[in-house]
């Protein structure tokens, strides 16, 4: 028994679910969402920060990532003329700012919509994000960031020590001040994915959970459907690849080309429920912290190249613990409740991989969202919906096309359907 859908979305994380939700509003389309949860899927592991500017300028888990990269490069470059300094922030290109900020702007309305129409509350909270400054190196880093984003001056605020303590009384006295990004907020990440999914289901999308895509069907250069272990064959006009850290595997099956998406491991800590210790989200050069609506505080995160391994490891957890206690000394008295690890779908230039690929029809990428899948899920859903329906896009997709990479065919696409 084979099924037909106009659109099949492979991957039910926050990206696939957002695509499903946006497409579900088109009553003429028959849509299926196919998902097999694998250990380490990033949506469930995420902290849920909507740090549009923060992440674009390399804060949040970016700063930790950059510090690590910079330390590695320093080690590798020892003796060479290249000096990589951690005081130089890691600023993403303008195209990413536009992408992230447009997505960020969608959340207030999306929150009302999913709650009002579908009864799903993803706990959108306006928190701001403060980069806590301990020393001169941090200050230089912050000044450099501000210098790079003159067009966002109205979204940035400097806090001196007194102002920081007024805003966040529990921050360590060691902190000299902070740089705050006013438009950076937070959500509950898995509730966001659940809200998109349930909205899509209520609008008529068929959900196939615990279903593994094992092959892709072709007709000439056109993708025609997928095979699954659990639910048989699905035929479709368009296949959307939203399989997160596993996206390279599906792209190989669909196009014969392996898009450069690799798992980037991140470990995260969660405290027990606390009265309000933090008024907003914080990032330091050691870690970031976000107190969620139920009082738990999330502390993230490492950036590790360990393949698909999702174990938690003591030295890394200890590093985050020390970073958190340094910033909020009160935490020493608090219980650590749980740790886990997730796999960010990393791309080499840290930009997502979206849209069609040359030479293949009926296939669209929605992957490679690296650290910012929660934040950029909203705009990704909107973009993919418009691509499927052949409508004008709200922003230029060129910088995000897979064709920006020189992809070499690894294997031939599977033979055409007999």
């Amino acid at each position: 028994m084979s099924k037909f859908y106009d659109v099949i979305i492979a991957g039910g994380g926050v990206i696939g679910a957002s695509c499903a939700y946006q497409l579900s509003k088109r009553k003429h389309l028959k849509v299926a969402l196919i998902d097999a949860k694998r250990p380490g899927n990033a949506t469930r592991a995420s902290a849920g920060g909507l740090w549009a500017i923060g992440e674009s300028v390399g804060l949040g888990c970016g700063v930790i990532f950059f510090r690590m990269m910079s330390a590695n490069r320093k080690r590798e470059a020892a003796g060479s003329a290249v000096v990589v300094d951690s005081s130089t922030p890691h600023i993403l290109p303008q195209s990413f700012f536009d992408f992230a900020l447009q997505s960020n702007a969608l959340y207030p309305q999306l929150h009302r919509e999913l709650k009002g129409l579908h009864g799903m509350d993803f706990k959108f909270e306006e928190t701001g994000l403060k980069f806590v400054i301990y020393d001169d190196e941090d200050r230089l880093y912050a000044e450099h960031i501000v210098g790079c984003i003159p067009h966002l001056a109205d979204q940035v605020r400097w806090l001196d020590q007194a102002a920081l303590r007024a805003a966040e009384p529990n921050v360590s006295l060691e902190a000299q001040g902070a740089l705050e990004f006013l438009c950076d907020h937070q959500v509950n990440p898995f509730r966001l994915a659940d809200a998109y999914t349930e909205g899509a289901r209520q609008n008529g999308v068929d959900l196939y959970f615990n279903t593994n895509v094992t092959g892709v069907l072709h007709q000439g250069t056109r993708v025609r459907g997928v095979r699954t272990d659990e639910a048989g064959v699905f035929n479709c006009d368009t296949l959307i690849n939203a399989t997160g850290a596993w996206a390279a595997e599906l792209s190989r099956m669909a196009t014969g080309l392996s898009i450069p998406v690799n798992p980037v491991k991140g470990q995260i800590l969660l405290t027990e429920r606390m009265p309000k210790l933090l008024n907003g989200c914080l990032t330091t050069s050691d870690c970031y912290m976000a107190q969620k609506d139920n009082g738990e505080i999330l502390i993230g995160s490492t950036t590790e190249d360990k393949g698909f391994d999702v174990s938690t490891t003591y030295p890394e957890i200890n590093g985050l613990v020390q970073g958190a206690v340094r910033c909020i000394p009160e935490l020493a008295q608090v219980n650590l409740k749980r740790c886990w690890a997730g796999l960010r779908p990393g791309s080499p230039d840290e930009l997502p991989i979206l849209g069609p690929m040359a030479g293949v029809q009926g296939y669209l990428n929605a992957c490679g969202h690296f650290r910012t899948g929660i934040l950029t899920s909203a705009i990704t859903g909107v973009l993919l919906d418009k691509l499927v329906n052949d409508e004008p896009l709200p922003l230029d997709i060129t910088p995000f096309l897979a064709d920006r990479f020189a992809l070499q065919p690894e294997v031939q696409p599977e033979p055409a359907l007999a």
């Binding site: 659940d194 959970f209 003591y314 957890i317």
Partner: protein, 469 residues
């Protein structure tokens, strides 16, 4: 080899293993979370000098023998009490929180996991009221010699622990209002022959029944709990006849006045640590997960052994035998025992184990869990006590198409609390199985730390924390 083998759990399995190792001259480290050894079965009184006559002479004799044997080997056993194993670094070392709430890493060349079991929680309206207890926990109170539950006590559940605790309570001077065994009498009678594999236990059972009769304590077969009622605490318990699959017949429900309700619908292996280590697990017949072990009590990792209820519920006596078999395997791995001697020793232990296993199988057959109990909770009955998730929340999630444990967790927050689902995972997986018709609905991956630990337990880099080495 410089490092000692490490044993997690100082109950009968862990103690017996440490004794066996010491009898062969091998030192070991024994870690237990309690302040005394013995586990829940053989911990003995919390205070010295307390007489536990009401627990019966045979129990007191085994208790004394185990602790006596252990005391004789004490010089070769390093006991670390009040120490909780809260995680594992792969299959090389354990993370332990010591009595001073400091975290340290304990490496091991060979490991025995003997973490025991915990009780199965069965949610029903009123199950979170003060005065509702799990049966094993209530028995621990009597065994502690320090506290007694408030009578009258209603006991509802299944298995041989029910009449035993009823007799112990009565002997300790606590009024027992009634005992309600979910299994029908015919089902138990059918196992009589198999239960005779342990004639002494069978006789004990009969004499317990006679004791209850003599003291006019009613024991009703095929009856179970429906609801606990009261303002701020239990004042009465609703019980009703159970069908073969434990569906209560509410039309015939009765109300029994009680200050305490003890609920004992069985035990579940404690697998949080073995799961975190990534050892192989399987499902037992009643749908619960347990780590798999071979005839040497070896897990899927050769150097990691399992013994006691952690690998399947068999009770204290079997735990001691399995603990010794694991110790023999460790002795072989350390080149202390030759293969021939080890095989002989193992066979002697297996011979003793065989009768217990036949007896346990008979108990398992008559205490087999009925699925009808999942109908007990009302829409507003709390299922996950940590996150206050109700049955209604779970019903809604199932109606929205949730099909596996992890998705149910994300949708309703069940198991996201401090206990990581130890209490609610049974009910939730039963409901998922009923809703999907699938046996495998996934399981929750236990996370580090297995119990919450203070941030101050972590050592700052530079500060030396290796005082345990």
């Amino acid at each position: 080899m410089s490092l000692c083998p490490v044993i997690v759990g100082g109950g009968p399995a862990g103690m017996a293993a440490a004794i066996e190792l010491a009898e062969h001259g091998v030192r070991s480290i024994l870690i237990d979370e309690a302040s005394r050894l013995g586990g829940v079965v053989y911990r003995g009184p919390l205070r010295d000098g307390v007489q536990l006559d009401y627990l019966g002479p045979r129990y007191c004799e085994v208790l004394a023998r185990l602790h006596g044997d252990f005391a004789r080997q004490a010089p070769l056993i390093e006991v670390r009490l009040n120490s909780r194993v809260i995680g594992a670094e792969a299959t090389r070392s354990l993370m332990v929180l010591d009595a001073d709430e400091q975290l340290y890493e304990q490496a091991y060349p060979q490991l025995l996991l003997a973490a025991g079991c915990h009780e199965r929680s069965v949610p029903f309206p009123g199950w979170t009221l003060p005065g509702v207890m799990l049966l094993g926990g209530l028995q621990l109170q009597i065994k502690s010699g320090v506290v007694k539950p408030q009578g009258p006590v209603v006991i509802a559940g299944t298995g041989p622990l029910l009449p035993l605790v009823a007799c112990q309570l009565h002997a300790a001077g606590v009024a027992v209002a009634g005992v309600y065994e979910a299994s029908a009498f015919g089902k138990i009678a059918k196992q009589s022959l198999a239960l005779l594999n342990k004639p002494q236990l069978f006789l004990d059972g009969l004499s317990m029944l006679a004791y209850l009769k003599l003291h006019r304590i009613s024991l009703r077969y095929g009856w179970g709990v429906v609801e606990a009622r009261g303002e701020g605490g239990v004042s009465s318990v609703q019980v009703a006849p159970y069908s073969a699959d434990w569906q209560p017949d509410l039309a015939r429900a009765e109300e029994v006045a009680a200050q305490t309700l003890a609920v004992g619908y069985g035990f579940i292996p404690r697998t949080q640590l073995s799961q975190q280590m990534g050892l192989e697990h399987g499902f037992s017949d009643d749908g619960y997960l347990r780590a798999t072990a071979d005839i040497w009590q070896q897990s899927s990792e050769q150097h990691i052994h399992l013994a006691g209820d952690m690998g399947g519920i068999r009770g204290g006596e079997a735990a001691m035998l399995a603990g010794r078999i694991a110790a023999v395997s460790i002795l072989v791995q350390r080149d202390v025992l030759g293969t021939e001697a080890a095989l002989q020793r193992r066979q002697a232990l297996l011979n003793k184990l065989a009768a217990i296993l036949r007896f346990r199988a008979a108990v398992d057959r008559y205490t087999e869990r009925g699925s009808g109990q999942t109908s007990l909770p009302a829409a507003d009955t709390v299922i996950c006590r940590c996150e206050h998730t109700t049955r209604g929340d779970i019903d809604l999630a199932l109606s929205q198409g949730v099909q596996d444990m992890a998705s149910l967790k994300m949708r309703t927050r069940v198991s996201m609390g401090d206990c990581q689902g130890r209490m609610c995972v049974g009910y939730c997986s039963d409901r998922l199985r009923q809703a999907t018709g699938r046996q495998d609905v996934g399981w929750l991956r236990p996370r580090f730390p297995l119990d919450p630990i203070p941030f101050s337990a972590f050592s700052q880099p530079g500060k030396d924390a290796s005082t345990h080495e």
